[in-house]
Symmetry: C2
């Protein structure tokens, strides 16, 4: 592409737009993607249930330790399909570019997107690019919508959860939220916290195969606390979390202590929270710990019939109530 | 919802976000849509090919004579599936809301969305809402991604086009572009041009059933001229358009003459351009004219082997070359 920065004309459907797509977008998408089609064929997998999921990505900054918005755009949708028990196959991609965006930044984001899509084994089948005037966007917004295929025998649902079921996390919580906040440098802090952004398919494939797994979710916006509250409201059971069992990286803990954050509200982008029958919980943790990035998997709590709400059992033997997220979570990361 | 304006906290995944979704979004989506799911099941239609399409909507202003961004968000994706020969069934919806947006505006847009979705017979199966800081959006951006089902016997492709084939439009061109421009009031003009925004399924259903229809497209961004250039480049045939045959509403023609626009570059949001074997062209036009909004359907030109490029035969007997859109089209409408 001749221009070093995105211009409004790159979104007008004409020659410059074709140049943008041919030089900065198509090279990072499957070679057989036909960008002249209005709609693309997607092969149906017979005997499987089809699932569909969508997510929008408005993270600031676009780049952070451990990834960029391009990686997130794949993981966000792929992980939603994965925790639902599906094997994702296809994605659509929407780009909303802000006038003035550096072409080199778009290129890095698209390379991140391609890297994550290849790692997850998903193929882009359709897309759309718009350019908005300067001051009406934030560099790049992305949307992905995905298709996945689930065995009709597999049942995962909040409604299967019973008192006594255990709550398991696949790794440390809050890394992504703190990594994004540090990348903003707004607090003058520096550190080596890396985002946990990753495809969770290795974890959910294990979860699909272990009987007794009732439900899985990736704790993104609103963090683990928000997942627990949704579970509590839907099941009408109480939840008790053993605070000392929740894996939190020391660097994440330090930043949280310093700024008064609670890591349970911070977004993860590569973790799974699973609910599993008590007798199978150890098996799940053992298999998750054997995976790369799974060493910190742990049972963190359980469902109880005897009380209402979400409670943390503190290391000193007390209990504190985990509030439902209401106002602005700090840091805003999506 | 208590707040009259959207706040950042409405996008944080917590209680306020649930309130926003329950009060302003869910009421306009199917009653059986489960907003607690990470991914939604979509029934597969056996014996049919599945097609997928996506589009982003960044139109300014959000409201214009004949519709709003909510209508467009349905038509854009439904029409792409329709011109591909498919019957659309499901949509996903992404909302990127700007902090400070009036709740009442969101409500009107969602009502428009619901109206258009019901008219097109498509069902929302998944969605996502994000809130971006004031000055990083433009009120509302929308993305829809759709699934449709096509008979495997139907073949529609630019590659089927031959010299002698006729080019047909389903109605007047440029109405949407001019309606949006007038709604901006930036030129101090007023008039009664209404957008053509509509679902084109009635037209494409006819097109599917008439043998000899090679290809259909809805001329949105870049207008009819951009469709013709894509056809010319792909087929490597020449195109001759009879300028006096192209339906342009008098009010649209007046504004174009006044401001120096060419209606062929203006977006339509409810028209179809079809390529059809010469012997079936009259049948297609006759059936299209019998439809509501189809009275102006017309054969506007044909493919010729003898010359290169896209040419307009002018009413005075001359020829002028229709340039490929390069720079900023005025008015910007997407």
């Amino acid at each position: 592409m001749q221009d070093k920065y995105i211009r409004l004309a790159h979104g007008n459907g004409g020659r410059l737009m074709r140049e943008l797509i041919d030089s900065l977008i198509s090279p990072y998408l499957p070679k057989d993607l036909d960008t002249t089609l209005d709609a693309s064929p997607v092969p149906v997998r017979s005997g499987m249930e089809m699932l569909m999921s969508t997510d929008s990505f408005t993270v600031q900054p676009l780049f952070f330790p451990g990834g960029n918005i391009g990686h997130l755009a794949v993981h966000g949708t792929v992980n939603d399909l994965a925790v639902s028990g599906a094997e994702p196959s296809h994605l659509t991609l929407n780009l909303v570019l802000e006038e003035g965006l550096a072409a080199s930044e778009l290129e890095i984001v698209m390379a991140g997107f391609a890297e994550a899509a290849n790692a997850a084994g998903v193929k882009v089948c359709a897309g759309d690019t718009k350019v908005v005037p300067k001051g009406q966007g934030s560099g790049i917004y992305m949307v992905t919508t995905g298709i996945g295929w689930k065995s009709p025998e597999l049942e995962l649902s909040m409604h299967c959860i019973q008192a006594g079921d255990k709550i398991v996390v696949s790794g440390s919580v809050g890394d992504h939220g703190i990594a994004v906040m540090m990348a903003r440098e707004q607090f003058g802090l520096s550190g080596d916290v890396k985002s946990d952004a990753a495809c969770v398919l290795p974890f959910t494939r294990v979860g699909r195969d272990i009987s007794g797994v009732r439900f899985m979710r990736d704790p993104t916006r609103g963090g683990v606390a928000t997942v627990l509250h949704e579970l509590q409201i839907t099941t009408e059971l109480g939840i008790e979390i053993d605070e000392s069992a929740v894996p939190v990286k020391p660097a994440v803990r330090s930043v949280c202590d310093l700024l008064g954050y609670d890591p349970y509200y911070l977004a993860c982008e590569g973790r799974v929270v699973a609910v599993v029958a008590a007798e199978h919980a150890e098996a799940l943790v053992a298999q998750w710990r054997a995976l790369p990035d799974g060493q910190e998997a742990a049972i963190i709590g359980e469902f109880v019939a005897a009380q209402d709400g979400v409670w943390l059992n503190t290391p000193l033997g007390g209990q504190r109530y985990l509030e439902q997220l209401e106002d602005e979570p700090l840091p805003r990361i999506c």
